[in-house]
Structures are given as structure tokens and as C-alpha cells.
């Protein structure tokens, strides 16, 4: 029999050993994750997008509210006699206007106060049966800390006895605490969903590897490197995770947009500060990328461990 028509012999030390093999993609069957896995990834990514958007909106809301309130204080003039209360209110406005750093002073009209209290006190709030303190909103050009409050109290002490000064941010301190807790909750949710994504990919990669095990063993024995085999699996993971991430991001973004529309319709000053800015949308856009990276990393580790079990 004639000599078989072999490939020309490689150099003595060459034997193709260092080549990575560009045609590696054709070596394994077209492995697929278990059917629902891309959709599971899509759902998980959608949850992360919603949680991330919620957390960012809450942060913006808290930051905006704190910025608005940190430079504002409220002065209460507590006096049962309405005439005397009106005189002292006017006097307090004059004193406050003269204080260095005060940007605006507004004596809240009694009608406005009555309207605010009407849901709780009924018509009695307007007819003067219930003594209501005069309220003065004071806005500083800078953050109003304890020093400013002490300064106002000292300035009012002689002219307006019984005046009480409160930083507006103090009233909302529990709200800020709740907002911070919600932000931590969002972060925890994101972490849990990231772990769930990794677990789903781990299971899928293991199943895909088990399904192709015979072929992997043959190729392994013919000289395939771990890198070549991993590359084929990772290509599949990349394709399916990218699909899931894109669908999930679209679903999550749509949900966030709809929620945004609903909250915008509330026309509430505080809620209005909870919108998403460009930087927030960029962070949200990074969610699918992070999801794909987690999927690739998890699959890479899973396949590497499975290959290591072979000689």
C-alpha cells in the first residue's frame, strides 16, 4: 500500500502544539443551554434593572430633599392672642430678614395654614377657635446647621419671646432613614439576583457540559486544550446570556419608564426629586454588561473545573 497522503511534517519542535486553533467553534456540537435559561437570565436582569432604578431614584429623592431642606428652617411664633401673634410675626420677619446669610423669609398666611390643617381640625382651623402658631419659612443661602439655628434663636429672643426654631430637615429624619433602608434593600436584592444568575448559569453550563461530555472527551484526547474547549462553551454562554440580558434590560427599562410616568403624574414636589438622571441610566445600562460578565465568569469556572476532572 502506498504511503498515506499525510500533512507535511511540522518542524521537529513544532507539531502545531502552540496553536490555539481558530476553527475550534466547529469542534463541538452546537451546545445550547437548557431552553428556559436565557429567559431566566432575562427575568433576573429585569429585576436587577428595576431594583437598581428604584435604588438610584430613592437616592436622588433623598439627596434632593436633603438639599432642599438643609438650607431651610421654620420659625413658630406661639401666642394665643391672634393680634399679638400677628404683631410678633411681623417683628420676627423683620429680625430674620436682617440676619446675615438669610436669602428669603416668608410669613405663611393664616388662610394657607388653615387649609393645611383643615383635614385634621375641620372648620375650627379657620374660625380661630383653635390657636395656631404663626409660621415663618426662612431660607438660607447655605446649609442651615446648628450654628445658624442658635443665631436665629438669639436674635429672636428679645423681640419675639416664645419663638421656636426648627430645622426642616429634622422633621424628615425618619423618612431619610427609611429611604436609606430601602436603598440597602435594593442593593441586597441586586446582590441576591446576581447570585441567582450565577447559580442558573452554573447549572446550565454543567448540563451543557454533561450533554457534550463524550465529544469533549474525544476532542480532549485528540489534543484539544482546555482553552479551546472552554472557548466553544463560552461562545454559547455569551450568545445566550447576551440575549437574556438584552431582553431583561428592555423589560426592566420599560417597567421603570412606566413607573416613572405614574410617579410623575402624582405631581408631588418630593417625588419629583426622585427622577433618574443620565448618569443613572448609564449605571442601569451597565447592568446587562455586568450580567453577561457574571455569566461568562461562572461558566468559565464551571467548565474549567469539569475539564480539570479529566486528565
Amino acid at each position: 500500500m502506498n504511503t498515506p497522503p499525510l500533512m507535511p511534517e511540522a518542524g521537529e519542535e513544532e507539531t502545531f502544539a502552540d496553536s490555539r486553533g481558530k476553527a475550534a467553534a466547529r469542534l463541538l456540537p452546537p451546545t445550547r443551554f437548557a431552553g428556559p435559561i436565557p429567559w431566566v437570565i432575562a427575568i433576573l436582569i429585569a429585576l436587577v434593572v428595576i431594583a437598581a432604578a428604584g435604588g438610584l431614584a430613592l437616592r436622588n429623592l433623598a439627596t434632593s430633599a436633603q438639599a432642599d431642606l438643609s438650607s431651610a428652617v421654620t420659625v413658630q411664633v406661639i401666642e394665643a392672642n391672634p393680634d399679638l401673634r400677628a404683631i410678633r410675626g411681623e417683628a420676627a420677619v423683620r429680625v430674620l430678614t436682617a440676619i446675615d446669610g438669610v436669602q428669603a423669609v416668608r410669613l405663611v398666611p393664616e388662610a394657607e395654614l388653615a387649609a393645611l390643617l383643615e383635614p385634621w381640625l375641620g372648620a375650627g382651623a379657620a374660625n380661630g377657635d383653635v390657636p395656631i402658631p404663626a409660621l415663618i419659612d426662612v431660607e438660607f443661602t447655605r446649609s442651615a446647621g446648628p450654628d445658624e439655628i442658635a443665631r436665629i434663636e438669639a436674635a429672636l429672643a428679645q423681640t419675639v419671646p416664645g419663638a421656636r426654631v426648627d430645622a426642616q430637615s429634622d422633621w424628615l429624619r425618619p423618612v431619610f432613614g427609611a429611604l436609606a433602608a430601602l436603598q440597602w434593600l435594593a442593593l441586597g436584592l441586586i446582590t441576591l439576583v446576581a447570585l441567582a444568575t450565577a447559580a442558573a448559569v452554573w447549572l446550565a453550563a454543567r448540563n451543557a457540559f454533561a450533554g457534550a461530555r463524550d465529544t469533549v472527551e474525544i476532542i480532549h484526547l485528540l489534543g484539544a486544550t482546555d482553552r479551546q474547549i472552554s472557548a466553544v462553551f463560552l461562545r454559547t454562554v455569551l450568545r445566550e446570556a447576551a440575549f437574556g440580558a438584552l431582553v431583561g434590560t428592555a423589560l426592566g427599562a420599560a417597567a421603570v419608564w412606566l413607573l416613572g410616568q405614574q410617579f410623575a403624574a402624582l405631581d408631588s414636589g418630593m417625588v419629583g426629586g426622585g427622577g433618574l438622571r443620565l448618569i443613572d441610566w448609564l449605571v442601569i445600562a451597565a447592568v446587562p454588561l455586568a450580567g453577561v460578565l457574571i455569566a461568562l465568569l461562572t461558566a468559565r469556572i464551571t467548565i474549567a473545573l469539569a475539564l480539570k476532572a479529566m486528565l
Partner: protein, 245 residues
């Protein structure tokens, strides 16, 4: 040839056991030399396939030392094993063709794994399929091929990358006598004209007589005997025997 190792494979007191079972191979010490043709014989269950698994690097021994191409396999990190595997051609007992690939793609596997240029791959694989008489079956998948055709594809895959050592496990077990002889002649051609070291495991004693220059290793219950002196001395034309069993 000066930088070639004096031996291709050297086993030193090698034993192999699976899990906690008794050893299936015990105290194997032998040397395989470049350019030689070896038959590995023995009854079913004697340990032929286990020994071949050690040779084609599917298994590490439980004890002892193995050197292959001058390198210590026991201490070699697994990342370097593909380099050695690419110097081997293996015909597996049940062919082990990749089921989703055509005959052409199966034969092309070793070349593509090695990153060979695709034009050269197409030429070499086409020529090889022509040589084993399977050009007309190039696009058939294994499930659509007969046992003999699969056998020839497996052999073509084993030899196409010009291996330094060809290892074949019962390569003639599924083909008719004429085809068996033809395949043996192919191995001889590789051995004589290309210098490939050939190790053929078979339980067919008649086959041993067909290759005059072959050396015989006989396995019996995991132990080797050496009827042709193959395990004790480097082969020389004057001492080689055919059908020494």
C-alpha cells in the same frame, strides 16, 4: 534524528488501579523505541485497553514512572499534555467518532485542533479520504456509515497529523479479513515509510503473523510477558520476529 529521544515511551514499575479495586496492571516495566511496530496481545480482560489508556494519556498510573518523548508524565502539569497528545494518533476500540461531525470533519479534527491552515486541511483531508476509499462518504455522519467505514474514518483521523506514535485498540475487530489486512498494510506503510512507532492491541493471533517485523508484548492478568524480547532490548532488524506467539 540526533535530537530524538532514545526511546519514545519508558514504563518503570507502573501499576494501575481504578478506585479501590485491585490493580488491573501491575509492575509494568518496558520501553518502546522509535520506528518500531508492536503488537499488544492478551485475552479479553487482560488489561490491553487499560495499558493503551496509559499510552494515549487518558489515564495516569496509580504508581510507577512513565516517560514519553523524553518527558516525565508523572510530574508533568496537565496543561502540557495536549502537546504530547498531538504527537499521538489513536484508533479507539469503538472508533469514538464525533457523532455530529461528517467523515470529513472528523478526519480534519486533529489538524483543526492544531490550528492548521484551512486550505491545507481541505487538501489533506480530501486526499486522505480518497486514500481510504471514502471520498464519496465525505459528508456522511457516523450514524449513516457502516462499521467498516467508521473504522476507516477513525484510522484516517489517527494518522492524518503524522503522529510520532500510532496506538490502535482492536483496529481490525469490525472489518472483514480483506479490509483488516489492508488496514494492517496501512500501519506498516506508516511504520516503514514515515517512521511512526505503531502499537496495535489485538486478541487475533493470526494478525500477528501478517506483520513480519513486529514485536510482541503479551498481557496476562495485568502482567507483561516478552516473547520477542521487545521489552528487553532495542529492536534490531536481525532480532525482530513476526508471529512469534
Amino acid at each position: 534524528m540526533n535530537d530524538r529521544p532514545a526511546e519514545i515511551v519508558k514504563f518503570d514499575n507502573v501499576g494501575l488501579r481504578y478506585g479501590t479495586d485491585p490493580e488491573v496492571l501491575s509492575n509494568l516495566s518496558f520501553t518502546l523505541y522509535p520506528g518500531s511496530f508492536y503488537f499488544l496481545t492478551g485475552a479479553s480482560g487482560a488489561g490491553k485497553t487499560s495499558l493503551l489508556k496509559l499510552l494515549y494519556l487518558a489515564q495516569r498510573p496509580s504508581r510507577g514512572a512513565i516517560r514519553m518523548f523524553g518527558q516525565d508524565l508523572i510530574t508533568m502539569p496537565r496543561e502540557r499534555l495536549p502537546d504530547l497528545r498531538r504527537r499521538l494518533g489513536v484508533v479507539f476500540q469503538n472508533f469514538r467518532l464525533v457523532p455530529h461531525l461528517t467523515a470529513f470533519d472528523n478526519v480534519a479534527l486533529p489538524l483543526r485542533l492544531a490550528g492548521a491552515d484551512e486550505k491545507r486541511v481541505v487538501k489533506a483531508v480530501s486526499d486522505m479520504l480518497d486514500w481510504v476509499g471514502l471520498s464519496h462518504r465525505a459528508h456522511a455522519i457516523p450514524a449513516a456509515m457502516s462499521g467498516g467505514e467508521q473504522q476507516r474514518v477513525a484510522i484516517a483521523r489517527a494518522v492524518i497529523a503524522r503522529p510520532k506514535m500510532l496506538i490502535a485498540d482492536e483496529p481490525t475487530g469490525n472489518v472483514d479479513p480483506d479490509m483488516a489486512l489492508k488496514l494492517l498494510r496501512l500501519f506498516e506503510a506508516l511504520n516503514h515509510r514515515v517512521g511512526t512507532t505503531v502499537v496495535v492491541a489485538t486478541h487475533d493471533v493470526h494478525l500477528l503473523k501478517k506483520v513480519p517485523d513486529s514485536l510482541i508484548m503479551r498481557l496476562n492478568k495485568g502482567q507483561l510477558s516478552d516473547p520477542t524480547g521487545a521489552l528487553r532490548y532495542p529492536p534490531r532488524p536481525a532480532m525482530t520476529t513476526g508471529g512469534g506467539a
